[in-house]
Amino acid sequence: MDTADTMPATARRAAEIAFVRAATEEPLPPPLTQSGAIGWIRENLFSTPLNIALTLVSIALIVWVMPPLIQYMFINAVWTGADRDACLVSIEHPVVGACWAFVRERFAYFIYGFYPISERWRVDAFLAMLVVGIVWLAWLRAPRRDIGAAYFFVVMPAVSYILLSGWPLIGLSKVETSFWGGLLVTVVVAAVGIVVSLPIGILLALGRRSQMPAVRLFSVIVIEFVRGVPLITVLFMASVMLPLFVPDTWSPDKLLRALVGVALFTSAYMAEVVRAGLQAIPKGQYEGAMAVGLGYWQMMRLIVLPQALRVTIPNIVNSYISLFKDTTLVFIVGIFDFLRTIEAARIDPKWATPTTSTTGYAFAAVFYFICCYLMSRYARNMEARLATGHKR
């Protein structure tokens, strides 16, 4: 044959010797006990005696907690009803779990508090505006995020204030803040904290790194003082001392006092977060900015802060999570936030049953968990995005 003549000599010899393999044999699959589900279980759950014991204890714990929890929350739960009789032990319900009928009936109260029913569309509009603002700022590839920032930090607060508290001139009747309540108040406190704390925090952080001793001293005192005391004392200070410090005629209302306290507290923590970001900026950036002739504020606005804030986004979001959890403390100075409405509804005789309290707290827990968890996922994603810049 032609082909045999054109082959190189070694290949021809290999073809003649039948027992030398020319192609690689396919590797055997690993043994069943080392791969797949069984291998994974052996490796992760039963590798050593200690591990076996730990696994068994964990399974026992899960079996002990989960089925009763699911039974209580879903299977034995009461979903419909008009008052407490639905959630009491009766012949139809020998075992009563969570009383979701209570949450359903009081849902509007949890959201709006005592806000007049005919005006509740204003609250809905405010919440919608807030969602638009948050999405615009949080979604990094949204168009015109600079307009978004202006909207979030300037336009939205002003419009919201007019919308919620009313302006008779344009036909919005006045609604006193004592009628505000529930989710509305929680969101207002959190939003004011978020909107106010960032600019004040940046100013305090810059002050703390300033060359001027008086400015530095002032910033350090404010930051360390506020961070050294519990939020609840700051709220007490705002609610009982603030009215003393302003002229008698101002008499700031209860909600405003609490807002001042929360804003002051969050700003001090924000200042430390921003300071950490400022310290992460290499000195060359400052020197470069000065070398091209930028003044202090131009340098900060154009060179330093954009970089510093970018690296601190995860920490800023984390401090917003703390803020969101801390909004519950306004409860103690007598403001009807979300938790307070649940606390008030829970002891209402109309719904008082042995399971009402647990149901109310479970509902609150779900709400706070979802909000905080989403924020922490966002912070984690941002962290992962930012980390790629330093990968080699």
């Binding site: 964990s58 938790l339 968890y373």
Partner: protein, 394 residues
């Protein structure tokens, strides 16, 4: 023609001189602050005079006239406000001290569980941390107090705790140890044991530096600190009597009564703070590079000593600063006692005393000063400690 050698800086208008500007800014800032403070003080004097509220700290020695449910020191309704302050402060410190101890234990356990190679264990720990960290502490406290402790059985259906305790919706009742004559010997043995252990450790370290021989410090120290008092205890003829709580029809006599508020507050604080401590511990251990473990193994250390002598000392350096922060947070969060009625400093002083005297400025200022002192002392100590253990690099 100007001289060539003239190097004087060019003449700038004082408006553009950075030094002049900086001084001007600071003067303006100080003036604004002074004006605000003066305005506030002026208003306060005015408002206080109108409301006929006394000012100053004269109320400190006035009779308080209210009762406090938990007092660690002698206190009655005829005691002074100053006494009430100390009662509140001690209650705060009590819950903070217990909370710190338990939160550290639970936090380290959860943190190490999160790093376990066992899938279930690490997932359980991660679930705990995620769940607890994302719920407000106030919600957790209310849950423990109102939904768990208040839902406990009545007095007559009390849950029996092995060893002679009771748990019901009025609180936790435990046997009270009462020292009898001769117990001093046990206390003395305990002190002697601690001194002996410290001395032994110093000796063992000197010997190790001189000869390289290691001594079983932990075992000997345990034997001295625990064993010696136990021996003394039996040698003195068991001089300790337990007063068991005696359950009557309507109330319980004798024993230690732990308020349900205290139990709820402690539970809430420990569970909440432990989640944060667990994260600090995990981050600290992860921060020690794997090369350190490998290097320790290649030197011939077994996994136990490698962990104890190489990994943990380096991890502690990372763990301790956030750990102290969590201790401070726990102390500050204990002020949430006011929500469930545990008589801590804030509840007693900023709550009851403020309401009775109306002296808002003084009471809030004193309360803040206490927390501020605790924070500053702790952070001073931490700065000193950090400087001591910081890595000394080339």
């Amino acid at each position: 023609m100007s001289a060539v050698g003239d190097h004087r800086p060019p003449r700038v208008s004082p408006l553009n001189d950075p030094r002049v500007r900086s001084i001007a800014y600071q003067v303006v800032l100080c003036a604004v602050i002074l004006f605000l403070v003066w305005g506030a003080v002026d208003n306060a004097i005015d408002n206080l005079a109108r409301a006929r509220i006394a000012s100053g700290f004269g109320f400190w020695n006035a009779t308080a006239g209210f009762d406090i449910s938990q007092t660690l020191i002698e206190y009655s309704t005829t005691s002074t406000y100053g006494r009430a302050f100390w009662v509140g402060l001690l209650n705060t410190l009590l819950v903070a001290a217990f909370g710190i101890v338990f939160a550290t234990i639970l936090g380290f356990m959860i943190g190490i569980m999160r790093l376990s190679r066992n899938f279930l264990v690490s997932r359980l720990a991660a679930g705990y941390v995620e769940l607890i960290r994302n719920l407000p502490i106030l919600l957790q406290l209310l849950f423990w107090y109102n939904a768990v402790l208040k839902a406990l059985p009545e007095l007559r259906d009390s849950i029996l705790i092995p060893g002679g305790g009771f748990l019901n919706n009025r609180g936790l009742f435990l046997p009270q140890p009462v020292a009898e004559p001769g117990f001093d010997a046990v206390a003395l043995a305990f002190v002697a044991g601690i001194c002996g252990a410290v001395a032994y450790r110093i000796w063992a370290r000197r010997r190790q530096q001189r000869t390289g021989a290691q001594a079983p410090v932990l075992m000997v120290a345990l034997a001295l600190v625990v064993g010696l008092p136990v021996v003394a205890f039996f040698a003195a003829g068991s001089p300790l009597e337990f007063v068991y709580p005696d359950r009557g029809r309507f109330n319980i006599r004798g024993g230690i009564e732990v308020l349900p508020e205290f139990v709820a507050l402690l539970f809430g604080l420990v569970i909440y703070t432990a989640a944060f401590i667990a994260e600090a511990v995990r981050a600290g251990i992860m921060a020690v590079s794997h090369g350190q473990t490998e290097a320790a193994y290649s030197l011939g250390l077994r996994p136990g000593p490698a962990l104890r002598l190489v990994v943990i000392p380096q991890a502690m350096r990372v763990i301790i600063p956030p750990l102290t922060n969590q201790y401070l947070n726990l102390t500050k969060n204990s002020s949430l006692a006011v929500a469930i009625g545990y008589p801590d400093l804030v509840q007693v002083f900023t709550g009851t005393v403020l309401n009775q005297t109306g002296q808002a400025v003084e009471t809030v200022a004193i309360t803040m000063a206490v927390y501020l002192t605790i924070s500053l002392v702790t952070s001073l100590f931490m700065n000193w400690y950090n400087a001591r253990i910081a890595l000394v690099e080339r």
